[in-house]
């Protein structure tokens, strides 16, 4: 299965960049992850400066003129800023304009995050000039000269690729020379390269902004994101391109939604493999018959049919096993995707429609139930109750014992299915 997937992926990847127009339109996400009050204010301010149609038109024409292999968030932002300023010279709300593009589904949250990050990097105020005494060049002169040479070639790389991509490559190359270099070493090395006139001030500023914004940690740039999604859509064409789900934009952590995390963390092949786990789960849940066959040598000796709830619980058990086995897969290199990741992947490739994603995702509560306030409180009540049972003198000693017993009977409800010998699963 994995070999077939890899083969297909390789075959189709050749044709991926042969397409002409770049389309970044949102085809999966529901309500945007970027929906805070400050974001809405920024959005409003942008629309006060320039009307919606002008923003959309400017963005579309920029994308139309940008070939896939030149796709770059920095270039898009730069051109968009120029075009919007040509309409209103006082316009300063590029970020708001980007949010507006998301609100109109011209881009999704992943593309928005990349564009916003690019804008943050571009608008970073640098504290220049640097003070000599604050700079820490590495001691190894041979390594320093090798790295300075690499930095010297950065401008040429920047002409062929986007800042985030070029910086990521440079960081990788420097890390190969010495992995132990820290950010303050990079800071000194960039200054050194500038002083040696290997890079101009513009290139230096780009490098320094990238360093300050830790661009090396960026998992995804616009080109790789586009390539990833295009590959997924090629292998798994969406049955309904108009469906949207808030599940994919639910908060994964402070900085990412479920979908952003998925696309930043996993490759297209990994996402497809994760989706196939849910595909099997879905067909098992939908099945009306499951049997265990007992063989005596070559012939079936016994057929044990599973009742409906046994089928259900078996499907969940085998899902958990397959999730664990994913980590052993060569393509996952030991990393174990969570159920949320797997569900987001299944939705991303259209295996689970938007209308079902929340319900299937909710299955996790069966093996990983949410702890209620009382679940958490009972640990303390039990501990204190046990102490109180000895400490409280008669005739009031029954009070903690009574409290403990009530908790036992009301709050803690054990999963009886696991103890039930009348059911296989």
């Amino acid at each position: 299965m994995h070999l077939i997937l890899t083969g297909l992926l390789m075959l189709t990847s050749f044709s991926l960049f042969a397409e002409d127009k770049v389309i970044l339109k949102n085809d999966r996400e529901g309500k945007s992850f970027y929906n805070s009050r400050s974001i809405r204010k920024s959005h409003e301010r942008a629309l006060k400066g320039i009307n919606s149609q002008d923003i959309l038109k400017a963005f579309t024409s920029i994308l139309d003129s940008m070939p896939e292999n030149k796709l770059c968030s920095y270039s898009i932002n730069e051109q968009l800023n120029i075009r919007l300023k040509s309409i209103n010279p006082k316009f300063k709300e590029l970020e708001g304009a980007l949010y507006h593009l998301r609100s109109k589904n011209e881009i999704d949250d992943v593309a928005l995050k990349i564009l916003i990050k690019a804008n943050e990097v571009e608008t970073t105020e640098l504290d220049l000039p640097k003070h000599e005494e604050d700079l820490w060049l590495p001691n190894d002169n041979a390594k320093v000269s090798e790295i300075i040479k690499l930095i010297g070639g950065f401008k040429a790389k920047l002409q062929d690729s986007c800042l985030d991509e070029a910086y990521g490559n440079l960081y990788g190359e420097i890390s190969k020379v010495d992995k132990s270099f820290r950010t303050h070493h990079y800071e000194a090395l960039f200054v050194e390269a500038y002083k040696m006139k290997l890079i101009d001030i513009r290139t230096y500023k780009s490098l320094e902004k990238a360093r300050e914004n830790e661009l090396e940690k960026n998992g995804l740039n616009l080109k790789s994101y586009y390539k990833k999604v295009k590959s997924l859509r090629t292998h798994f064409p969406l049955r309904d391109a108009n469906e949207r789900s808030d599940f994919s934009t639910n908060k994964f952590n402070k900085k990412s939604s479920n979908r952003i995390h998925l696309l930043e963390t996993y490759s297209d092949l990994q996402i497809m493999l994760m989706g196939s786990v849910i595909k099997k789960l879905r067909s098992r849940l939908d099945s009306d018959k499951m049997e265990i066959l007992v063989y005596a040598r070559e012939t079936v000796d016994e057929v044990i049919p599973l009742d409906p709830m046994e089928r259900f619980r078996f499907s969940i058990k085998i899902l958990r096993k397959e999730m664990a086995l994913l980590a052993l897969n060569t393509y996952f290199k030991g990393s174990s995707p969570s159920y949320i990741d797997i569900m987001t992947a299944a939705y991303e490739v259209g295996i689970i429609p938007a209308s079902e994603v929340d319900e299937v995702a909710g299955l996790e509560l069966i093996w990983n139930p949410k702890k209620t306030f009382w679940d958490k409180a009972q640990v303390w009540v039990r501990t204190l109750g046990s102490v109180a049972a000895i400490a409280v003198p008669p005739p009031y000693g029954f009070i903690p014992a009574l409290a403990l017993m009530v908790i036992e009977f009301t709050v803690s409800k054990k999963d009886k299915n696991t103890e039930d010998t009348s059911s296989l699963f």
């Binding site: 009306d288 709830m309 209308s355 909710g362 017993m405």
Partner: protein, 405 residues
């Protein structure tokens, strides 16, 4: 002329048969807040002007074949009017709301009140020397009769037994609430004994290490320690006798005066196209309870009717976990399946819940089990009837899993 006369006579006779009347009688009804009251009700579709003989139901007393007369004893007419009124309501529900063709075309039913005989599949009424029956109701299937013995064929009938005060000690009751309470008390007793022992050991340790001057073997200390255990033990052993002393001792149930029991029995008849009336099982009773609850528009059956029964009733909202014993006929009358179906109605949507459950009967037989065919039936019916089958099937599975099925 002759032909015209014949046609006219046919027309008149047709009119005569289709003529129905309405009359008002006092009957027991529920208020909006589910309280039982006596009120005047209008009995529809009566075909007789002097007895409880209607287009769809004939109310008779015991083994009689003639309908109860309007001028019979007021106790009897009160029962007859109550059963007739609520049976008509139940039939209207199945015909007009559920759109059941089976119920619409069902032949007229004989309803027997104050009927003590046991049922015989061959002889209709079992021999009178068999024990008379009280405090319950049943729906019997139609029978072919036995010509040679003079037993005529009979249609589907509902029998309401007379009420009789029976001492509770004579009845074998599956009182789960009492069982749970006893288990709680047992655990409390164990905890208290353990606590007493711990306190004694703690006192002994502090005394031995010199941390405390109190002597755990001192008389007052020993009395206090042992006293707790003795009191607890006494309370534990006296619990059962005291409960018996305090609780009600007599049981009775006037089934012909309990609307939900009337609905329940009629539901058996309405569902009998698939759930054959052969014996009582958890599923067949649960399905009848569900529709009785729907007709009564309440998840509580036969509650708050103390004057005519001391039956605890059934409550669909009582959360119970599945026990394998529920599959046994001994537990057929518990409210587990009722509660389960009531919950499923909410899962598939209140608006389509009734139609869903009515469709469900097609997937069941009288011998179906909860864990097997009932769950399978729910899932298959959902595939055909749910608004969002995959989602709703998952919701059903999750809900059933939570109940420990």
């Amino acid at each position: 002329m002759k032909t015209t006369m014949i046609i006219l006579s046919f027309l008149f006779s047709g009119l005569a048969f289709s003529q129905t009347s309405e009359r008002e009688f006092p009957a027991l009804v529920r208020t909006e807040s589910n309280k039982p009251i006596q009120d005047m009700v209008r009995l529809a579709d009566l075909v007789s002007d002097n007895s409880f003989d209607g287009k769809h139901f004939k109310i008779v007393k015991g083994k009689e074949e003639e309908a109860v007369k309007f001028n019979a004893h007021s106790d009897l007419t009160f029962r007859a009017a109550t059963t007739y009124y609520h049976l008509t309501r139940a039939r209207d529900y199945f015909v007009n709301k559920i759109k059941s063709d089976y119920v619409k075309n069902m032949p007229k039913m004989v309803i027997r009140i104050d009927h003590k005989s046991q049922f015989s599949e061959l002889g209709h009424f079992a021999h009178d020397n068999l024990d008379p029956q009280f405090n319950n109701a049943l729906t019997i299937p139609a029978g072919k009769g036995f010509e040679r013995r003079g037993i005529k064929p009979w249609g589907m009938e509902i029998w309401f037994r007379p009420m009789k005060r029976i001492h509770l000690s004579e009845i074998n009751v599956n009182d789960q609430a009492a069982q749970e309470y006893t288990a709680m008390l047992k655990q409390f007793r164990n905890m208290m004994h353990m606590q007493t022992l711990q306190r004694f050991l703690a006192g002994l340790m502090t005394s031995v290490t010199g941390a405390s001057s109190a002597n755990p073997f001192a008389m007052d200390s020993l009395v206090r320690t042992a006293g707790t255990s003795v009191i607890m033990e006494a309370a534990y052993h006296l619990f059962d006798p005291l409960t018996k002393l305090v609780q009600r001792k007599w049981y009775w149930l006037d089934t012909a005066l309990v609307p939900e029991i009337i609905y329940h029995e009629y539901a058996h008849a309405a569902l009998s196209d698939h759930l054959v009336l052969s014996h009582s099982t958890a599923i067949i009773e649960g399905m009848a309870d569900f529709f009785a609850g729907q007709i009564a528009d309440s998840p509580k059956l036969a509650k708050h009717i103390k004057k005519y029964n001391t039956f605890n009733g059934k409550n669909a909202k009582k959360k119970q976990d599945y026990m394998i014993q529920f599959e046994m006929t001994d537990y057929a009358n518990t409210d587990f399946v009722f509660g389960l179906l009531w919950e499923m109605k909410k899962v598939v949507g209140e608006d389509r819940g009734e139609a869903f459950m009515f469709e469900l009967r097609k997937k069941l037989t009288t011998n179906s089990t909860i864990r097997g065919q009932l769950v399978e039936g729910l899932l298959q019916t959902c595939r055909e009837k749910c608004g969002s089958p995959t989602n709703d099937r998952l919701k059903i599975l999750k809900a059933l899993n939570a109940r420990g099925i």
